[in-house]
């Protein structure tokens, strides 16, 4: 029930910059995922919000009040550690009651809240068991319950699903989302798994090398990446990026992709048109948008065929142009060495500046 505002937040460890110029406002009750590869600064950001690490620049505000001088025990932040940090020398009940005890809640109230939380998370049968021998799945729920029981205004989760098995992960994804709705807390979720971010978050903040690259809803991030890194990082496989040059034709501007052929005439947005196009561009399209078409204007040889069940991933490439295509199994599949001729819907093409890596014209 608190808004978090990060302004110009930065952290340096000696000469190494872990985070720079982070500006992000996380709304009251919002579920925001910090997504990025290892070492992108997402955990550092999280630890600074919790108070475990002090920023070297910028400010963190909860509801317009700077909390930099508030010690971490009084920030009212619930934190779920990657390895859960369960107090294994205590029982499940003692773990759940720990925060309430520390805050001096009366015994009867404490019992009521611990029992309610245990009920909610289906921990009741093991309340009096020692936490040491419990399975990872239970430890995970216990970790969430232990933080949630003190009703923190802000919930921070540091890769909470990276240690659980794949089947349980998908259960937990929906469960976490349901829990967050129930508690209606502001929730920041650190992950390197885009599937978790895409399925749970209201908004995703994509980070790389200590920089915040794009913030948006999962669909915005997927459909309109503002940056080549985001384009490649989001999606599985990520967006294809080919180098090309702008050429003109009777029907309008198009992109010449050398040996891969030419794109269909571009459907430029007004903004892109008014901005003008650089001579060289990065031509981006999602592998799912590859449309096999005997009359297609583009063609690439098939290097490798990867069957993953319902769909098949084709690895295309030659002459420094690498791309992937995701096709339904219904169509006749080319084999290795064949030339795949295809077309891309002009509306689905994204152009990026080859120097800055930034999307041209925003929404096309």
């Amino acid at each position: 029930m608190t808004q978090i505002a990060l302004s110009n937040l930065g952290k340096k460890f000696g000469s190494f910059t872990a985070l720079a110029q982070m500006n992000l406002t996380i709304g009251d009750g919002e579920f925001v995922a910090l997504l990025g590869p290892s070492g992108c600064g997402k955990s550092t950001t999280m630890n600074m919000i919790a108070g475990m690490v002090d920023p070297t620049e910028g400010d963190i505000r909860f509801d317009d009040r700077s909390i930099l001088d508030v010690p971490m025990s009084r920030r009212g932040v619930g934190f779920v550690f990657q390895n859960y940090a369960i107090f294994t020398h205590m029982s499940v009940r003692e773990n759940l009651a720990y925060g309430l005890r520390a805050q001096g809640v009366s015994a009867s109230e404490r019992n009521r809240r611990v029992n309610a939380m245990a009920d909610l998370l289906q921990l009741t049968p093991m309340l009096d068991r020692r936490a040491a021998g419990l399975s990872v799945n239970i430890l995970q729920r216990l970790a969430i319950g232990r933080s949630a029981v003190v009703e923190p205004a802000i919930f921070l989760l540091d890769e909470p699903l990276s240690n659980v098995d794949a089947a349980f992960r998908s259960v937990m994804r929906s469960e976490l989302k349901a829990l967050q709705r129930q508690f209606s807390q502001t929730l920041v979720y650190v992950t390197h798994d885009q599937l978790e971010a895409m399925t749970m978050a209201d908004r995703i903040a994509v980070m790389d090398h200590g920089k915040l690259l794009q913030v948006g809803t999962p669909l915005e991030i997927y459909n309109n990446p503002q940056d080549v890194f985001v384009a490649r990082f989001i999606g599985s496989p990520g967006m294809n990026i080919l180098e090309g040059t702008i050429a003109s034709s009777d029907e309008g501007k198009l992109v010449d992709l050398a040996s891969a052929g030419r794109s269909a005439p571009l459907a430029l947005s007004d903004r892109a048109a008014s901005q003008g196009l650089p001579e060289k561009v990065l031509f981006g399209f999602r592998p799912e948008q590859v449309n096999p078409d005997p009359n297609g204007t583009m063609a690439l040889p098939v290097n490798f065929v990867e069957r993953i069940g319902a769909r098949t991933i084709l690895h295309l490439g030659g002459d420094g142009l690498e791309a992937k295509a995701v096709l339904d199994n219904q169509i006749a599949m080319p084999s290795i060495g064949d030339i795949l001729r295809f077309s891309i819907d002009p509306k689905m093409v994204r152009l990026f500046d080859p120097v800055s890596g930034i999307a041209i014209g925003g929404d096309i």
């Binding site: 108070g51 971490m72 025990s73 940090a85 107090f87 294994t88 020398h89 520390a102």
Partner: protein
């Protein structure tokens, strides 16, 4: 290693009923000679002691130890021991040193560990300095404290600063104070070891659990008493057991400071044994005393070990 040999190795490791027990049996026979040797080394001195303790043997009797049966007296050494007031007084003194020194060393060591678990400027320097007493040869430490506690020594000079008239306490020749001086020396010398062990234990308490406690609103004290101390339980038991057993053996420092005196005022169990061995030369009796102490120390170790395994199960 190629694929085939990996497979073979896997099969050998598989717990197949027959092969497994056969392998165990082979292992048993192969290690038997070494096991016997180890057992012999461990058990022989104890058995020899037990044997001698049943006799009135002394090296002056002119017969080798294995013929001590000629002087067989049965349990008389043990019944003597039970009524030996000097032995019980020495036991009590040893116990007194233990219940004073071990808790003080523990609390000082724990306090220092709390200070040193966090970074502060000059930490390395302080750290090395603190460990010096532990490295001093006990005999040298005894001599140092012998000098410190002279009636014209630095301890009295220091006390004189806080009182109107010059302090002239005869620490080492006053029967009621000599033991205090001995305890001071032991605390000085062995607190660093306690500190070192406890610091190692404290550092190994998982940081994230401590962070989790703080994030849940725990104060420093709550975190310390509910997370740090319980997680150090095993190492605390080890530290206490080591010091308790060591104090039973307190000898060199003490012998140089007081020689067990004045009179028998600082005669601990080791000093008493030494005197009986070297001055009275009644070795049969010494063997009986030594066995009695061995039993006491075994009980202490057994308690420590059982507490430790309980602690380990809780994890």
């Amino acid at each position: 290693m190629n694929g085939v040999s990996v497979k073979e190795a896997d099969i050998a490791v598989l717990p197949q009923d027959n092969a497994g027990s056969e392998e165990k049996r082979l292992g048993f026979w192969l290690t038997l000679p070494a096991q016997c040797l180890v057992l012999f080394i461990a058990v022989f001195p104890i058995l020899m002691q037990l044997y001698i303790s049943m006799t009135d043997w002394s090296p002056l009797d002119g017969i080798p130890w294995y013929r001590a049966y000629e002087l067989w007296i049965g349990f008389i050494n043990y019944t003597d021991l039970a009524s030996d007031s000097r032995f019980w007084a020495a036991m009590w003194r040893t116990f007194l040193v233990m219940i004073v020194c071990v808790p003080i060393q523990f609390l000082l060591g724990l306090g220092l560990a709390v200070l040193f678990v966090d970074e502060f400027p000059g930490k390395r320097w302080f750290y090395s300095t603190l460990l010096i007493p532990m490295m001093v040869v006990p005999a040298v430490a005894g001599y140092m404290f012998f000098l410190l506690f002279q009636s014209g020594g630095p301890v009295n000079d220091l006390l004189s600063l806080f009182s109107a008239s010059p302090v002239k306490i005869a620490w080492l020749s006053d029967p009621s104070l000599a033991l205090v001086a001995v305890m001071a020396a032991d605390i000085w010398q062995w607190t660093p070891l306690m500190f070192l062990i406890l610091l190692a234990g404290m550092i190994s308490v998982p940081q994230d659990q401590q962070m989790a406690a703080v994030l849940l609103g725990a104060s420093w004290g709550r975190r310390f008493f509910t997370i740090v101390l319980p997680r150090m339980k095993t190492i605390i038991i080890i530290a206490l057991a080591i010091r308790t057993i060591e104090i039973f053996k307190i000898f060199d420092t003490l012998y140089i400071m007081t020689g067990g005196g004045p009179g028998v005022a600082t005669e601990t169990i080791s000093v008493y044994i030494y005197k009986v061995t070297q001055q009275d030369l009644i070795w049969g009796y010494v063997a009986a005393i030594a066995l009695a102490i061995l039993i006491v120390l075994s009980v202490i170790s057994a308690i420590a070990i059982s507490r430790m395994s309980k602690g380990a199960n809780a994890r």
